[in-house]
């Protein structure tokens, strides 16, 4: 397998965003995943979201663990720096990167094996710390790259391709994210681009730990009858609580909606999320009732999707450790080295 560069021949009619970039400018190398893999749709959604937000691609850093899902950063944002780290440990590498330069956008991509099994601890702690990032788990309920073993998000009773039943209780990453203090929590489906793209956009605008669990069927190992992560099953059981129609800058909201059906959420950076309610009573600002609602629906076999929780005034790790505004990696000698005089004073106190 070698690297395949995508031809960068731009069609003159391709639409451009505010920065003058076309969608192609946000693409990466040609994917080497299986044709039809859900992960590729998520890559496409990330490309679309970054394009629509007109983010300068080089100001995004993409980090991942190991797995088919973790390979995907090669397939989007080709002019961004990327880091394919080790299995289950993307969160710590991303945390360090974020500490070094608070000015970049951090996009962490992981799989359900990567985040719910080997990396469960790091998944938990990166959310607890409120690292400013978008953390996407491409959740297919199996280990794709190692060829189809159950992962920790496989539902109890779910059948493997070879007919073996999973008897272990599943880890619900959304429930954990809510409990651990993530300040933006969403679930979506790789087959529902209209839902996923605005969620990714909103998460990119979130100041704090944003977590998106994207159910992303593995066509090679987990798309059969008896699987609860197949395209058919997810389509049938998708229970969206709301639709994030658009996300926009500080602009006024102009479109008309029937009263009580739309909620506008203004995030820390002024971005406005227009949330169309599907479950009239679902309140995405109430962490506790969100958890209860999710548990309830999950017990009924439903897959709840949408923007499940958001704290628009969230704080991040830099706020907590009170770092200077200037990125730490730009500080020079004058700001970092106390000098010989200070050292001589210190010497004097050590005698």
């Amino acid at each position: 397998m070698t690297y395949l560069a995508k031809p960068k021949l731009h069609h003159p009619a391709l639409p451009k965003n505010k920065l003058g970039f076309t969608r192609r400018d946000y693409e990466g190398a040609v994917s080497t995943l299986c044709a039809g893999c859900g992960h590729d749709s998520i890559s496409a959604a990330i490309i679309q979201a970054c394009f629509e937000l007109a983010l300068p691609p080089h100001r995004i850093a993409k980090l991942s663990g190991i797995g088919c899902s973790s390979k995907t950063p090669t397939y989007f944002l080709g002019v961004s720096h990327g880091f394919n780290s080790v299995h289950g440990r993307m969160p710590s590498v991303l945390t360090g990167a974020n500490l070094a330069n608070r000015d970049l956008i951090y996009l962490g991509v992981s799989g359900d094996g990567d985040s719910a099994s080997i990396g469960l601890g790091q998944f938990a702690h990166v959310l607890r710390r409120g690292v400013n990032m978008v953390y996407i788990v491409e959740n297919n309920g199996v280990y794709g790259l190692t060829k189809g073993q159950f992962s920790a998000t496989s539902d109890k009773g779910s059948k493997s391709k070879r007919g073996v039943q999973n008897m272990d209780a599943p880890i619900d990453m959304i429930g954990m994210a809510l409990q651990l203090g993530a300040t933006f929590v969403a679930r979506s489906f790789s087959g529902d681009k209209a839902q996923l793209v605005p969620l990714v956009m909103a998460a990119l605008h979130h100041h704090g730990a944003a977590f998106i669990d994207v159910i992303s069927p593995c066509v090679a190992f987990n798309n059969h009858v008896g699987s609860t992560k197949s395209f058919d099953y997810v389509r049938e059981h998708n229970d969206a609580v709301n639709r994030l129609d658009v996300i926009e800058g500080r602009a006024e909201i102009t479109a008309d909606y029937a009263p009580g059906t739309v909620e506008s959420v203004v995030q820390h950076d002024g971005s406005v999320l227009r949330l169309r309610k599907i479950h009239a009573d679902y309140d995405p600002h109430d962490r506790i009732s969100a958890m209860a609602f999710l548990q309830e629906r999950q017990a009924a076999g439903e897959i709840v999707t949408g923007l499940l929780y958001v704290d628009p005034e969230a704080h991040d790790l830099h706020d907590h450790v009170e770092t200077v505004e200037k990125p730490l990696n730009e500080l020079g000698e004058a700001e970092l080295i106390p000098g010989n005089e200070a050292l001589q004073k210190l010497n004097a106190s050590l005698r």
């Binding site: 330069n101 080295i337 010989n340």
Partner: protein, 610 residues
């Protein structure tokens, strides 16, 4: 009864205390007062990690000759912990002294008849003088320091001055401490018989400072420009992270905004800690973690990634003995191989071996320049003996003209000027490629970081030839490292010598003492103190120039010797291991005994004195 030991400025005092009784600061006061009299001391804390009653010992070696290694033996035992009484009494050298709290009468069977027993009713004195139990406890310590000062001839004014410095501006605390000191001093002067151990004013301390290696290493990290630290608590490295926090609060807060020019994260484990360091270093910040053996074991996978992805991570390994339920509060140099070859695949890492707190500072700061220059993990190998004990050490110096060496980093201007960028391209022939920081340029210089499945331009490939090409370049880089790590320090024997000795790290103080002692026995050895790995040519040449070379280290398996054999292609027969690994710091006596008996046992290598 043997003759009571008589010595001026050359003896060992050992304090046996109960942890948390406030003895630590009193004992430090004792040590420092001797320093103030111009007499060098070497102090060591001994603290088992899980024995009931939490005993701690503090050993003060008074040495006008300036020997800073552990001597072994006890001339004066200050026995303040009833629970360790028996073992404390047993450890006194014949002719030595016992100082104890005689408030409660003890049967003669509890003592020895070959030592001088000095009883002072400390509890009784305290109970009379103080009503508050906490005060009774705290001042008891100061009272016995006062009494010892009187017995040993330590200038009470020197102690008073130290107390004054400690409680500067806090007259309320200073007064009672001073009074307690005099209470003890007066009692001993009036009621206790003089002893033959004495401290006499000298001028052997000079401008040296007294500090522990972990603090010095933390200071090195500050001066090395570290901005991100991630760590997980583990003895004996914890106090390094704490010291970094302390120094950052002092030196790294923006005076205008009160915001921090650093970030310290207590990770959820050592994996996360090193991961954070790798992420930060990848993104252009200087970052470090500090740990000990068990933590280093956990970091293995990440260290492989850092090696292959060429990330300038800095690790401080404060080595200790054995696993977590081994001897976590004891010292060893037993992570040498685990660090040198950490991780999967063909990996080798750069190591630095500081000998004392001064070098913890110096090499600690240097580690960051080296890591950036070489784009690879760099390990600073301390041990518990250097890390957690205060040592008399050269005063710290910093060259204000020193610029941080950020290594080969391509900037936006370089890229715009059309410089060719290949993340793993060896443009200079030294094996070190250029890197870019994320976010540098809108369209140039981005690359995807992964293990070894990539070509010179960081493009994905699993081609064998590209892998080999990369591995060869990493070897060239390691060759470059040989020239950049600090060179070994050679101490020639007074007479031409056929045998040599190699040592490193905290062994240095004991080795110096031993070299002098061996010389006294007519054994002349050229000595070489290693300061880094990979070994420079001076190391290989030193071995080649001698018939036999002793390799002194504090581990069971002669790990440095293995490294010398493997990396230097040295004939094992030539390298004679001298190994100390019971968890106590190596002593000059031990090395002298081991080398002289080895020389007697093997064929006589002794140089003929002519």
């Amino acid at each position: 009864m043997p003759q009571p030991i008589a010595s001026t400025n050359d003896f060992v005092v050992k304090f046996a205390n109960v942890n948390g009784s406030g003895s630590a600061s009193a004992n430090l006061l004792f040590a420092k007062s001797i320093l103030r009299m111009g007499v060098p001391v070497a102090t060591r804390n001994i603290f088992p990690s899980n024995i009931q009653g939490l005993p701690t010992w503090y050993e003060v070696r008074v040495s006008a000759a300036g020997h800073l290694g552990r001597r072994g033996g006890v001339d004066l035992m200050v026995a303040m912990n009833p629970q360790t009484w028996a073992q404390d009494i047993a450890s006194i050298d014949p002719g030595g002294y016992l100082f104890y709290d005689s408030t409660k009468p003890m049967p003669p069977s509890k003592f020895r008849d070959d030592i001088t027993v000095i009883g002072m009713p400390l509890t009784e004195i305290c109970n009379k003088a103080y009503a508050d139990p906490r005060q009774r406890q705290l001042f008891k310590n100061i009272i016995y320091i006062g009494a010892l000062a009187a017995l040993l001839g330590i200038d009470a004014a020197a102690i008073e001055q130290l107390i004054g410095e400690q409680y500067k501006g806090k007259e309320k605390l200073f007064g009672p401490n001073r009074d307690a000191l005099h209470m003890g001093h007066d009692y001993a002067t009036q009621r206790l018989k003089p002893i033959s151990l004495k401290v006499a004013r000298a001028d052997a301390v000079g401008d040296r400072v007294f500090i522990d290696g972990n603090s010095a290493a933390a200071l090195g990290a500050v001066y090395g420009g570290a901005t991100v630290a991630a760590w997980y608590p583990i003895t004996p490295s914890t106090s390094m992270a704490e010291a970094f926090q302390r120094y950052c609060r002092r030196y790294r807060v923006d005076p205008a905004t009160r915001k921090n020019r650093y970030a310290i994260i207590q990770g959820e484990d050592e994996l996360a800690s090193v991961g954070i360091v790798i992420g930060a270093a990848w993104n252009g910040a200087r970052a470090f973690t500090c740990t000990s053996g068990p933590g280093l074991s956990l970091m293995q996978e990440f260290l492989g990634l850092a090696y292959f992805a060429e990330i300038p991570a800095v690790l401080f390994d404060v080595q200790r003995a054995g696993p977590s339920t081994g001897m976590p509060t004891r010292t060893q140099q037993a992570d040498i191989l685990a660090a040198a070859y950490a991780s999967h695949g063909d990996t080798k890492h750069v190591l630095l071996f500081p000998e004392d707190p001064y070098e913890c500072f110096e090499l600690g700061a240097l580690a960051f320049d080296l890591a950036d220059r070489l784009q690879t993990p760099v390990f600073v190998m301390l041990d518990l003996d250097i890390g957690m004990n205060e040592w008399l050490t050269k005063p710290f110096q910093w060259d204000d003209g020193h610029r941080l060496d950020r290594g080969k980093v391509m900037t936006a201007a370089d890229l715009d000027a059309g410089k060719e960028f290949g993340r793993y391209l060896d443009v200079d022939g030294d094996g070190i490629p250029y890197r870019t920081y994320p976010g540098t340029h809108p369209s140039k210089g981005a690359y995807f970081t992964r293990g070894t499945s990539r070509d010179r331009y960081a493009r994905y490939t699993e081609e064998g030839a590209a892998y080999v090409d990369n591995m060869q370049r990493l070897l060239r880089k390691f060759e470059t490292a040989k020239k950049l790590v600090p060179a070994a320090v050679r101490t020639p024997a007074k007479q031409p010598a056929k045998a040599g000795v190699i040592y490193f790290g905290s062994t240095a103080a004991a080795m110096r003492e031993s070299l002098a002692a061996l010389e006294g026995q007519g054994i002349h050895l050229d000595a070489l103190r290693l300061r880094g790995f990979p070994f420079g040519t001076e190391v290989i040449e030193f071995i080649a120039a001698h018939e036999q070379v002793f390799v002194v280290e504090q581990n069971r398996d002669a790990q440095l010797r293995t490294l010398l054999m493997t990396e230097g292609g040295i004939d094992p027969a030539k390298l004679v291991p001298v190994l100390h690994y019971d968890g106590t710091p190596i002593t000059g006596r031990f090395i002298t005994g081991a080398i002289s008996s080895l020389l007697r046992a093997v064929k006589p290598l002794r140089e003929v004195a002519s």
